[in-house]
């Protein structure tokens, strides 16, 4: 089977649109709300989830025929937990500031529903390569929303992007005020709602 056959392409692109983990399946909302008050942690979180979903998918897919059916969830959890711990250790060593900002949420990737959902629904039945694509696709789909919401929240809430001030001081002199509501998790929920609305209205086609 070719590496990028039609089926494999679908496996990769479906989670970016039709089967989008957040927009279509409404999974992984909780962390999408928590880490999106600024753009940088949102990007790191998106990358972390992408890497972990991809590799967890591959590992589970490789050992899928040996996993005893009765403890499969436990095995999946052990694999995910190990990967998450490794990622969080690497972040602490190479991106300390970000790991402080993400704090508990990196650990909470373990319970991210996208991961468990993909492992159980896809990796348990498919070969490693399609599983890898599925993991990357779902991770990127998740990261996409995080980046959109993170960018909007940081821009409106703090007037900056990635920590650089975008709105000039002159605007503040004329009485422009940052929207403090945007830094609260509640606004992330509303923004995710808006994104889902736009997606359903313009991009989503029933199969």
């Amino acid at each position: 089977m070719a590496l990028f056959s039609k089926q494999n392409k679908e496996v990769f692109t479906n989670p970016l649109n039709l089967d989008h983990p957040i927009l279509g399946q409404v999974l992984g909302i909780c962390s999408a709300l928590a880490v999106t008050s600024q753009l940088k942690p949102a990007i790191v979180m998106g990358l972390a989830v992408t890497v972990i979903t991809a590799f967890a998918n591959v590992i589970i897919s490789i050992i899928r025929n040996t996993i005893p059916n009765r403890i499969r969830i436990v095995v999946q959890l052990v694999v995910v937990a190990a990967l998450v711990t490794i990622v969080s250790q690497i972040l602490k060593a190479f991106a300390y500031d970000v790991s402080v900002q993400l704090s508990v949420y990196v650990g909470l990737i373990i319970t991210n529903c996208i991961l468990m959902g993909r492992l159980e629904a896809f990796a348990m039945q498919n070969k490693p390569w399609p599983s890898f694509l599925d993991g990357v696709g779902n991770g990127l789909g998740y990261a996409m929303i995080l980046v959109i919401v993170g960018a909007v929240r940081e821009f409106l809430g703090r007037g900056s992007l990635l920590g650089f001030q975008i709105i000039p001081d002159a605007c503040y002199d004329f009485g422009y005020v940052n929207n403090g509501m945007m830094t609260m998790p509640a606004m992330a929920l509303i923004l995710v709602g808006c994104v889902i609305w736009v997606h359903r209205a313009y991009f989503y086609k029933e199969k």
Binding site: S37, I71, V74, V75, V79, A82, Y96, V100
Partner: protein
């Protein structure tokens, strides 16, 4: 022969092997990355101390160099650390603070100038609510409110406090709106940690400048040094 993956013995052996492999992997990663993580934590502490000295916005190597330039000595007393610093010829002591917030531990650094006033402050927290309690760390404006406040009264009691309704602007700091319990934690932390701290006036009163409050309570110290000088 096809393995029966549902037999009890298979499940037990399978899980045991899996756990051992994962344990080795994690131990290896932890050991391999530990030195880098320790360096990051140490650098973070140095940055926090610099923040409390109102030196902000430095990145890794700059902070390291500035720290080496500013901080002269480090002492420890009952687990509380003090850093003797010098900025623009002024002697400043940075005291480390540790206390309890609403959801978890809070910590901080408070720098004290030679008149017993706050030179700068920085607070950190483990798990306070973002936007409310977390403001003690995120809001530079709030930390700057501490600057210039008197810490001790004539009797050596801590009068610096975080309160809802500021009556005495010389010693009191307005608490964070919506984060009363975290603010109370900061207040208690300051009181507990600075009560036994060495007061700058104790040590400088025998120097060139003598202020009234200083000589009242440290007469003993001054006479002691004088007698010592005579002996010599």
């Amino acid at each position: 022969m096809k393995l029966n993956t549902n037999s009890n013995s298979y499940i037990i052996i399978y899980s045991a092997i899996l756990v051992v492999i994962v344990a080795f992997l994690l131990a290896f990663v932890y050991q391999a990355l530990k030195p880098m993580q320790d360096a990051n934590v140490a650098l973070d502490v140095k940055k926090q101390i610099l923040y409390s000295l109102n030196i902000r916005g430095l990145d890794g190597s700059e902070a390291e160099a500035k720290y080496a330039e500013v901080v002269k000595a480090e002492t420890e007393q009952d687990g509380q650390k003090f850093y003797a610093c010098q900025i623009d010829g002024k002697d400043i002591i940075v005291a480390s603070l540790k206390g309890m917030g609403l959801w978890g531990g809070i910590s901080g650094y408070l720098s004290i100038d030679d008149e017993g006033k706050v030179y700068g402050a920085y607070f950190n927290h483990e798990s306070e609510t973002a936007g409310l309690g977390a403001e003690i760390k995120d809001s530079q404006a709030w930390q700057e409110k501490f600057i210039g406040k008197q810490i001790w009264d004539e009797n050596g009691n801590v009068v610096l406090s975080v309160v809802k309704d500021v009556k005495d602007p010389n010693t009191q700091v307005d608490c964070v709106t919506g984060a009363t319990l975290t603010s109370n934690g900061v207040d208690a932390m300051i009181k507990a940690c600075l009560q036994n701290a060495e007061k700058p006036s104790d040590t400088v009163c025998c120097g060139t400048e003598k202020t009234d409050s200083c000589c009242q309570k440290t007469e003993d110290c001054c006479t002691e040094t004088e007698t010592k000088a005579e002996e010599e």
